[in-house]
């Protein structure tokens, strides 16, 4: 069923962009609503439905992030609250949580490119279409994002399964 495949996609990308489950749910619901409304006019030769949905989610998440920047700092979410303690039991989960936390510290466009490339597994041409930029810009964004993530995570190696044995 379409909902079972696409709603989780919208939700996880929104959550990785925003780090807030409630906002991610809102965005997933809004994006799916737009999809239902657009469906009757859908043309088979046009963009893939998933590409279209990624773009809608990315735009909605960007809007939220802009609103956050305009809001007082006290309203900014604490990205690590709850998540870290809940996921600390397993190293794998801890690594995932550490990455999610580091992702939320990346500049918005780099985060988007890294999420689509390395977590959603999309190719650069499709990411370029979603982000409405050139392929070279995508390559640059992902490369800078990776460097920043590597730097942020280097301090987290100990305790996450990277001790020298």
């Amino acid at each position: 069923m379409l909902t079972d495949r696409l709603a989780p996609l919208a939700y996880r990308v929104a959550l990785r962009m925003l780090g807030d489950a409630f906002e991610a749910e809102d965005i997933a619901q809004e994006a799916m609503l737009r999809l239902w409304r657009a469906a009757p006019g859908w043309q088979s030769g046009g963009a893939k439905v998933s590409t279209w949905l990624y773009r809608v989610v990315a735009n909605l998440a960007t809007d939220r992030l802009r609103r956050r920047r305009a809001a007082p700092l006290a309203d900014a979410p604490d990205v690590a609250d709850g998540q870290q303690s809940a996921l600390a039991a397993l190293v794998e989960r801890d690594r995932a949580a550490a990455l999610n936390e580091a992702l939320l510290r990346l500049p918005e466009r780099q985060r988007q490119a890294v999420v689509l490339r390395h977590l959603e597994g999309l190719g650069n041409p499709e990411i370029a279409e979603i982000m409405e930029v050139g392929v070279e810009a995508v390559e640059s964004l992902t490369a800078r994002g990776r460097r920043a993530l590597a730097a942020a995570l280097s301090g987290r190696r100990e305790g996450l399964g990277y001790e020298e044995g």
Partner: protein, 118 residues
């Protein structure tokens, strides 16, 4: 971070533990989709109010226009068979008790021999 391999391990962990929406969200989205589906067409008023004449009753009794189309096709096929002297079927017998199986001359001979032998 020494190399990309370690970063890849973080990505792999994050992919493995991808956040998933709860059932309530999926149910809301599915309900939303259903509410936006086009409504089924209702019968037109002029069809409802029209009295059923004897011809319309007969047509309805045999299964409507599709059945009438089938009847016409079968009739035309019979006419063609008659006109084209389809002698190839002359020696066949239609076995009604065996769900429309066609018996050929050779079958009939072997059936007769079998019956005689009993």
């Amino acid at each position: 971070m020494e190399d990309d391999k370690e970063l890849e391990a973080f990505f792999a962990s994050a992919r493995m533990h991808a956040p998933a929406p709860d059932e309530a969200l999926l149910a809301r989205v599915a309900a939303q989709g259903r509410s936006l589906q086009p409504m089924p067409r209702t019968p037109r008023l002029r069809d409802q109010g029209r009295p059923a004449g004897p011809l319309r009753g007969l047509l309805a009794a045999i299964g409507g226009w599709p059945a009438l189309g089938g009847l016409m096709t079968a009739g035309l096929a019979g006419l063609w068979l008659g006109l084209s002297d389809a002698g190839g079927l002359m020696g066949y017998v239609y076995g009604s008790s065996t769900d429309g199986w066609l018996y050929g001359p050779a079958d009939l001979v072997s059936m007769a021999v079998a019956e005689d032998g009993e």
